[in-house]
């Protein structure tokens, strides 16, 4: 049966990839908890991954919050539930849109950059050079990026949540005619701590995924410029898919009892 052979081959290739990524993640975590830890590099990566992603995340969440207010108003007005707009905006932002949109944007910006940088270091033998200079490439390249992703993504998402809610407020008050005091009151009335916390946990998971996939694909890239390009694409695609899958899993862990 010529149909089954390629399907089986693809499945085996996929399993091998999952295995390699798991081993890579295990090695990374192992090196995260053993000295030496390069704090200087962690701070540098936090600036690269976190600080420089702020404009992108701010823009994305601002317009997401604005359009959310607009859409939910036009939808809810069909059954006279306009007053729920503020609540819908804040819960959607903190639980879902903040972390997922920020995660996807950072995956495109940072995941690609990490894969390209480490991939170029691989094909130009800079990673081998690190080894010959008595420096572990995992500790020097991978761990600082993963730790920076773990720390900065929740911070980015928290800022994004606030900006998104502000976007909803701007549209609600200026365009949809809500009273500003009651909009703010409605925003906080039904908001629970878990809504925000679950979003931040998601953000940390996404930060780990984005940086890990960037490092994995860069570290294993081969074949010159084309290989680095391929690694960049793979890093963005795989981290985006893993973000969406893990988003479902984390949601289920938090909100189904």
């Amino acid at each position: 049966m010529p149909i089954f052979a390629p399907v089986g081959h693809m499945f085996l290739t996929f399993l091998a990839l999952v295995g390699r990524v798991t081993v890579f993640a295990g090695r990374t975590i192992g090196h995260m908890v053993t000295p030496p830890i390069y704090f200087r590099l962690i701070f540098k990566q936090m600036r690269e991954i976190g600080y420089f992603s702020l404009p992108v995340v701010a823009m994305t969440t601002l317009f997401a919050g604005m359009v959310l207010a607009l859409q939910s108003y036009s939808g809810f007005s069909r059954f006279s539930a306009e007053s729920a707009v503020a609540t819908v905006v804040v819960i959607s932002m903190t639980r879902e849109l903040g972390p997922v949109l920020a995660g996807l944007m950072v995956a495109g910006r940072v995941g690609a950059a990490i894969a390209a940088e480490i991939g170029t270091m691989r094909v130009t033998e800079q990673i081998d050079a690190l080894v010959t200079l008595s420096t572990n490439p995992f500790k020097y390249l991978v761990v600082p990026r993963v730790i920076a992703g773990l720390i900065t993504l929740p911070v980015l998402v928290l800022i994004g949540d606030i900006i998104g809610v502000m976007g909803g407020y701007l549209v609600g008050v200026n365009k949809l005619g809500f009273n500003d005091g009651s909009y703010i009151r409605n925003t906080f009335q039904y908001l629970e701590q878990l809504d925000v916390v679950s979003g931040l946990v998601k953000a940390a998971v996404f930060g780990f995924i984005i940086t890990l996939m960037g490092c994995y694909h860069g570290y294993h890239s081969r074949g010159g410029a084309q290989g680095v390009g391929q690694a960049t694409t793979n890093a963005v695609v795989s981290s985006s898919i893993l973000i969406l899958i893990s988003n479902y899993i984390v949601t289920e862990l938090f909100f189904t009892r």
Binding site: T124, E125, Q126, D128, T132, L133, S134, Y140
Partner: protein, 258 residues
Amino acid sequence: MSNTAKISLRNVHKGFGPKKVLQGVDLDVAKGESVAIIGGSGTGKSVTLKCVLGLLTPDQGSIKVDGVEMTTASQAERDAMLAKTGMLFQGAALFDSLTVWENVAFGLIEGQGMKPAKARDLAIARLEDVGLAADIANMSPASLSGGMQKRVGLARAIATEPEILFFDEPTTGIDPIMGDVINDLIVKCTRELGASAMTITHDMASARKIADRVAMLYQGKIIWDGPVADIDTSDNPYLQQFVAGDIEGPLELDLKHL
């Protein structure tokens, strides 16, 4: 020459899938000796070097550095071996996120934990050793010419005063005059350090200048090994063909697969 070789390879095999690259390499490098491994493209010169450094693990055979078996070495033994080696890469492999002096001082700061201010002075002294002015110390490696990058790479390799130096195609990709400058610097640096050196090259002019001894790699084995003075008088037909650069001869050139 002491009895225990600095580097000793015995029956080293390494394959990638169905392709057998190394098929039983035997080679010794004595203390203070400089050995050049010559051979055509794709004969496994780089693979041999990477096996010694531990960047690749041989399928079978033994590699000893200072009498310590490296194929089964612990991480600590491997770190100890790497601490006393330096390597010049083919493309220099300078870290482009760091400045020139940070590259040269890398092994001192990260490997030995030296204070950056002190390491910087040492790095500039090393740059002067390879004929580069101190004013390039703060430049980015990407803004240097190929010949300058190679010399910065050499300065980085010798910065930690290693006992063993590896050179991967030191003269490839630069003009013949700069190649000769690099050769002279390699000879000078290895001699000053009293280091053992292992060079892989296909540049016979470079091999003649750098090496005390030449080993020729062909079809995964060392087929000729002798003092550099003997390469012209040897009656080994393979070596003669390679040294002369003839197309005709016993070397099977599988041009379609090289």
